[in-house]
Structures are given as C-alpha cells and as structure tokens.
C-alpha cells in the first residue's frame, strides 16, 4: 500500500505553486499513515479553491456550499459513525461565512476532523481580504487597506471548547501530515488551521516569508495539555515568529458517546422496513 491509493485521475486546477498542493499531499500521507482505505473516508468540502480538494482526493467527497462544511460533516458522521469524516475549506469559507458553525462544532465535539486552508485572502473571487488577513491589507474590496483587525482562529477554538487544536504549514507537508493523522485519531472535534501560501493574491506572504517565521511550538517545550499556555501561544509575538504544531489537546466525551442509539450498526445501514408505530398511536388514544 502507498499513498497513491488516494490519488484521482483528474488533475487539480490550482495555480502552479499553490499551497493547496502541499495540503493535498499531506492529507494523502496522513490517510495512508492511518491505514485507511479510500472507501472509509468521506470529505465534506466548501466553496473556494480549497474546497475543490474533494475532487482530487480518492475518497468519497461531497463538495457543498460556501461556509457550510461543518453541518454537513456532522450529519454525515452521526448517520455513519464508522466513517472517517473530514470537513475542509478555506478561511473565507470557515471563518467568514461559516463562523457560527465553527464555534458550535467546537463545543459539540463530534468525532470529525476540520482542516482550514488559511491564506488570509479570498482566492477564487480574485483576491479580497479574509477575516485572517492583515489590517491594512490592500485588496479590490479594501483599496484603502482593510480596517478590521484579523482574529486568531486558534484562540477562538480553544475558548469555544475544541478538544484538538493545531496549526500546520502548507510548505511543510511532512509535519502537516503528522498533525492531520493525529487529528483524525483524536476522538472528538479535531481542528487543524493550515497556514497556506496564495501565490496569486497574497504573494507578499511567500514560501520564503513563511519559512523565515514558522516554528514548531512543541519542539520549544509547549505543553498542549495546558489551556492557558495554548491561549498564550496565540498572542502575536514581538519577533513576528509564527508558531505551528499542537496547541491544545484534551480528552472529553464525544457527542456520540451521549447517544446510546448509535450503538451497533451505523444509522445509515439499518433496515427501515416494517417499523411498528402502534405504541406511539396507542399513547394518543
């Protein structure tokens, strides 16, 4: 077995040099490392360059709406808890349009994985500032520079109760694959924000720019079980360095653990013929 079993014949339409290629490779490597088969994986992806990834990963894939990957993924997982369900989209998709779902997914703790391709810019609509774009970012909708401050999605995730919070970098596919595999293994809502290069619309933040700044938090002794330390790690640094790695992890009961009706075969596989509703009618007599 090798990671190519997750290949698709169809070729991605991303720009040459797009950070999405690194994420695509990392995801295949992670699924391979997890010893999963393509049919055991179901992707729920959003709209934007990132969301098209479900067309180019050899697994079941549902490319849905802008900002709505998480509700779809939660429905998928509850209907078939035997599947590995991964929601995936961009920062515009997940942090702009779909922010409400993100917060609730964090506190709901369904056993799914959420990957966000975060490049600070809307790519597919040709370059407008996203919620993680820098204040002052000049784009077609912000010609005088963005007035809003960016928010830190990892701080929000920790505050909202996410049980696995990590950040990777699209230019370090090996390390990213490790974080994704770890996230899939984690029982509960596992979230990986991925710093990603957009060569077309945010070229100032090039691979070189990121490589000069990213570092592995865990190699510098960060304790991912320390919630306060995780939140502190999301604060901007005076030296401009960008931490990656596992920020926070905690064991907590999944939503599914509170649903005894999920014991046994997945709901999607159950026979629905001949259900007896006479007791329900007798209750009304």
């Amino acid at each position: 077995m090798d990671p190519t079993r997750f290949n698709r014949k169809a070729k991605p339409t991303w720009c040459p040099g797009c950070g999405n290629f690194g994420i695509q490779n990392a995801l295949k490597k992670a699924l391979h490392a997890l010893e999963l088969e393509p049919h055991q994986v179901l992707l729920s992806t959003g709209i934007g360059c990132s969301g098209k990834i479900s067309h180019w990963i050899g697994a079941y894939g549902y490319h849905g709406l802008h900002g709505r990957t998480l509700p779809v993924a939660i429905g998928m997982k509850l209907a078939n808890h035997a599947l590995t369900v991964i929601a995936e989209g961009g920062d515009g998709d997940g942090y702009s349009e779909g922010m409400g779902h993100f917060i609730h997914a964090c506190r709901r703790n369904v056993d799914i994985t959420y990957l966000v391709h975060n490049n600070g810019v809307f790519g597919l609509t040709t370059g407008q500032v996203s919620p993680t774009g820098d204040q002052g970012f000049v784009s077609s909708t912000t010609p005088a520079g963005a007035l809003e401050r960016p928010f830190h999605p990892l701080a929000l995730a920790v505050a909202a109760g996410a049980t696995y919070v990590a950040r990777g970098f699209s230019g370090d596919s090996e390390r990213l694959a490790g974080l994704i595999a770890d996230a899939v293994r984690h029982p509960g809502f596992a979230y990986v924000d991925i710093l990603q290069v957009c060569v077309s619309f945010n070229p100032a933040k090039s691979y070189k720019w990121y490589r000069e700044r990213v570092f592995d938090l865990n190699e510098e002794g960060h304790d991912p079980t320390d919630r306060a330390a995780a939140l502190a790690a999301t604060e901007p640094r005076a030296d401009g360095r960008l931490p990656t790695g596992l920020f926070y992890r905690v064991e907590a009961p999944t939503l599914e653990a509170g649903l005894p009706q999920l014991a046994g075969a997945p709901l999607a596989e159950r026979d629905v013929a001949g259900i007896d509703v006479s007791p329900l009618m007798e209750d009304l007599v």
């Binding site: 429905g75 209907a79 159950r270």
Partner: protein, 584 residues
C-alpha cells in the same frame, strides 16, 4: 336538553394553564366516545395577555371550530371581555364570582347562564398556588356538563396522576370544590350534557404528531432542526422517541446548520429530515438548491405562519406557497405536497421519504400553524399498504468504464442514477454543487450542463400528480365548486356538511409540484361557478392554477387575520354565493 354536542372555550392569561385545561377537556370528550376538534390560540409571550383553547365535540367527525359558544370557562376577566359576545343564548359562562371585576352586564338578559364560581378562594382553600386555577375551572366545567363525583375523580386521575399523588390530590380538591358549585341547580339550567357513548378507540392527534409518527414509520434516522413555532412539536415529538426508535434528533445552532446536517446525513445514506417555518425556511434555501443539484434525498417540512418577517409568530396563514415553489436559485426538481388533515399528515410524513429517495431530490411538506397544532380525533392510522421504497441503490462500487470513480450521476432512462452508500468498498464517488458531469466532476462544458439540467428536471416527470395531487369532495356535478388546499380543507369540509344537500363541491389541491394540471383544468372547465378559499391575502393557489391550468378563478374568500376560517363563517360565505345570482 342536547347531549354530546359542545363548543367550549377555555380562556385565560398565558401561564394560567389554559393549554392543560383544554387538553384535559379534549381528552375527556374523546374518552367519552366523542369526536373532538381543538384549536389553540396564543400570543408569542410566556406570561400574561390572552390564550384560548376551543374544543368542539360531537358524535360525528368535527372538522373545525365555530363562533357560537355553548360554554366559556374564563380563568380571568380579559377572557370574559374578549369572548362574552360569542356565548349563545342558553350558553354558560363560568367566571370568578369572588373577584367581580368582569363586566357581565346584559349577559343574563341575553339568556346566558352566569355560572359564578369563587375560583380564587377555592384555589386558596385547596392549598393555594396559581397552578390550581385551571383545576378549579375544570371541576366547574365537569359539574356543569353533568359528570358525577366518580367521573370527576376519574377524569382528574387521568389528567394529573402522572405528576404524582400530591399534585393529583391538590388538583382534585380544587376541582371538587368548584364542581360542587356548578353540579346542582346551575347544571340543571344548562341545556348540554356529556354522556359517554360506545365508540371505537380514537387518537387525539395534531398534524405535527401525525406527521412525526409517519416519519418514524418511514424510518427517519436523522432529524435536525431549530425551534420555530409552529414546526417545533415535530422535533419534540421525534426527540422523545430518539432512543426507542434509534434515531438522532439534533437541535442545531440555526436553520442553515439544521438543513445542512440533514443533507449530510442523507449523503451518508440515512433517511433524514428537517422542519421549520417560513423564516427558517428562508435560511434553508441554499441547501435546498444544493440537494436538488447534487441529487440528494431530503424531506423538509415548512409549517407556515403569517409573514413577512416575524409576522404573527404563533398564528396561522397559507402565505408561503409561492415562496416554497420557487425558493433557491436556478431550476431544479422539487416535490411539494400540502396535506389537508391529520391522516394526510401521517400518510405524507411517511411517503415523503419514499419520494425523496425515489427521485433523489427535496420533498417539501407544506403545513401551517392550524394544521400543525390543532388536534382532531382519528382512528389509529392504517399502516398496512405503507411500503418502504428506498429507490435505486448500487450494491457494488464499480467505477465508470475507463474511469477511477463511481458514476454518481450516471445517465439512465429515468434520469435517476443509482446511489452508493459511502463506506461501500470499491470505487468511491465525488459530487458537487457546481455544474458537473455524470461522474460528479465539475464541468462547465455546455453539453454537460444541458445534459445535467435535462436529467434532473426530467426525473419528476415520471411522478403522476394526477394520481394523488387532488380530491374532489362532494357531488361530481354542482352549481358551485370551492377550490382550496392544505389546512383550509377541514373548515371547508365542515362548511359543506353544514350546507348538506346544497349543490356545492370542493376541489382540494394537494400536489403543488408536480401539479395535477390536466385534472384541475378539466374539473374547473366543467365547473359552473368557482370560488377560491385561501387563508392568505392574495390567493396564491389561484395564481398557481392560472399559471399551470390556464384558468383564472375570479371569486375568492380570503382570510389573512392570522386566524383560520371558522366553519360557520365559511358556510355563510359559501351559502351567500349559492344564493347570489349567476355572475355576481
């Protein structure tokens, strides 16, 4: 003395237990072998203002409510003020004689029996607590309609035993004290009696309960929703059965998430459903189109309330028909059905899942507050003849020839492609809300676009709305044909009963899309005179008929006050037309 025919109302501020008292009386009549109709009216507040629960009971089926009250139980003065003129001569008013705040002038002169009962002091004597007020009121009603001590005790036990002995005893004490005040002379003067009759066991069921039971029968495995009157009791009914019937009911963060979860569950292969009202449906529209585009089965219930915006949150209207028929961008197939009563809610709550999977597209059931929350007595629903049809599924995951993925949208004669449950070993599939080819790959090719549109729009052409989409009630030949749909079906049928023998019939339209065009056009072409009855301001079904069948119905009885037609009100309006000269 008239036996077993009642039009009663319980009125009081929100929080006084009007709903509980009404339920107890509705159940009492049902257990006595009567048919019952119950209509609840309440404002969108938790405490104060005015709630009412009207119960119409008789030995024949009760289609709806009427204006003339035989009995008003007023738990507060405002109820007297609001409803005193509805009490008929010879009818009775139970009011709190201890407080004396209500204006009773002229009632006795009109022949209304004033059954004054010191409700507040009875409550105090029985142990206090405002919660006993409705129990005292119930005791007074039971005394007035002729229940003896034993029957009173049995009715209270039936209603309150589930709350424990202490609560039952306190309620019964209050009930007895009030019963003593009305069961003697006052009852003797009242011209109505409740006398149990032999009848087969009947359910007292709301449209939402019936629909939820139909959905459980169909094997709904996943429901997600966001509370919104008047759809909420579908969710609460299903939630109570979650463990017993092995389904997941998820209260989502908003309606977008609710429908998104249902779509996700359906993509994974489970029968999935959501329900909401018009405002929530606004938020669901994008997912509705996605389900259509990706050929995902979805059952969605839209229980209407008066809009626009928050409108009248707890009242009724049929104002969303056109919206539901055209919601979401672009053309895609949808099946829209408007049930006309509790049995139809059950039947279509079941069949919707078959249709959704057979045609792999959204099915919308259109209810409204009146149908969702009113209750009727029905024989237990017949379940033989209900067959689960899950549509076309592939059991082996073979890739398309020369390709590396399963053709989720493969071309077929019917336009329906076999589904493949994720998790099935072999070739996997992708699909997308972008325009796509047969394999579900994004394609902007003109030929692919045209093929895809023809495929999805062609699917439901195989569904013959003529077979289920309409019913002609009454004689085949008539001077006047009433045309209506959904919840107005019941008051229209009640009005036709009132006009028994008159040359009038009723075309109930049920299939809104696909539309039974041929049958409706034929029936209307053959009708001598027609009148539209709709619970909205503009006659939306009339427009739909004009668009589809090319027939314009010029005469309309429309009501858009946020309340359903009363049976007698409708009988009068229809009767007027029967008497008016042709071409009025």
């Amino acid at each position: 003395m008239t036996v077993n025919r009642f039009n009663m109302m319980v009125g009081g501020a929100a929080g006084l237990g009007v709903k509980t008292a009404g339920d107890v009386l509705a159940r009492l009549c049902t257990r006595a072998g009567l048919h019952v109709f119950g209509n609840v009216e309440y404002p969108s507040i938790i405490r104060g203002d005015h709630n009412s629960y009207q119960i119409v009971a008789g030995e024949a089926f009760q289609h709806g409510h009427r204006r003339e009250l035989d009995l008003l139980l007023a738990l507060d003065d405002l109820s007297v003020e609001l409803h005193r003129e509805e009490i008929r001569p010879g009818g009775a008013l139970i009011h709190d004689s201890g407080k004396g705040g209500a204006d009773l002038s002229g009632l006795a002169e009109r022949g209304v029996i004033l059954a004054g009962v010191p409700l507040a002091s009875i409550v105090e004597e029985a142990g206090g607590g405002a919660r006993l007020l409705n129990a005292a009121g119930l005791g007074a009603v039971m005394g007035l309609v002729g229940l003896d001590r034993e029957a009173l005790a049995a009715a209270f036990k039936d209603a309150f035993a589930r709350f424990g002995d202490e609560i039952l005893a306190a309620n019964l004490a209050a009930g007895r004290l009030a019963w003593e005040r009305t069961s003697g002379e006052t009852a003797a003067a009242f011209d109505r009696r409740l006398e149990p009759v032999d009848a087969p066991p009947r359910m007292l069921v709301t449209g939402n309960q019936a629909l939820a039971i139909g959905a459980i029968k169909a094997g709904v495995k996943f429901y997600a929703g966001y509370p919104m009157t008047p759809s909420s009791t579908i969710m609460t009914t299903l939630a109570r059965q979650e463990r017993e019937y092995g389904l997941v009911v998820k209260h989502a963060e908003d309606e977008i998430s609710a429908v998104g979860m249902a779509v996700g569950a359906s993509v994974a292969g489970a029968r999935a459903m959501t329900a909401t009202s018009g405002g929530g449906f606004c938020l669901m529209c994008e997912f509705l189109g996605l389900a259509g585009m990706t050929e995902t089965p979805l059952v969605l219930v839209e229980s209407q309330r008066p809009g626009p915006a928050t409108g009248l949150p707890t009242r009724t209207e049929q104002g969303d028909l056109k919206f539901v028929l055209s919601a979401s961008q672009g053309d895609f197939p949808r099946i829209v059905i408007a049930p006309g009563g509790p049995e139809e809610c059950f039947r279509w709550g079941f069949e919707a899942f078959n249709l959704a999977e057979r045609y792999q597209t959204p099915v919308i059931l259109l209810l409204d507050k009146h149908l969702s929350e009113s209750c009727w007595t029905c024989a237990p629903f017949a379940t033989d003849g209900l067959t689960v049809d899950r549509g076309a599924w592939a059991d082996a995951a073979a890739p398309a020839p020369g390709e590396d993925q399963f053709p989720r949208h493969a071309a077929t004669d019917t336009g329906v492609s076999p589904m493949l449950r994720p998790g099935t070993p072999g070739a996997t599939w992708t699909t997308t809300g972008d325009a796509h080819d047969d394999l579900g790959r994004i394609s902007e090719e003109e030929a692919d676009r045209v093929r895809h549109m023809d495929k999805i729009l062609g699917k439901v052409r195989g569904l013959d709305a003529g077979a289920y989409g309409w019913t002609l009630h009454g004689p085949a030949e008539a001077d006047l044909t009433v045309v209506g749909w959904g919840s107005t079906t019941q008051p229209i049928l009640g009005a036709l009963d009132d006009l028994a023998g008159a040359p009038v019939n009723f075309l109930q339209v049920r299939g809104m899309h696909p539309f039974p065009t041929g049958d409706v056009a034929r029936i209307l072409a053959g009708a001598r005179r027609t009148v539209l009855v709709e619970n909205n301001a503009t006659g939306q079904l009339g427009d739909l008929i004009a668009e589809r069948a090319g027939v314009r119905i010029d005469d309309a009885i429309l009501k858009y006050s946020g309340r359903q037609f009363l049976v007698d009100e409708l009988a009068a309006a229809i009767g007027e037309r029967l008497q008016a000269p042709e071409g009025r």
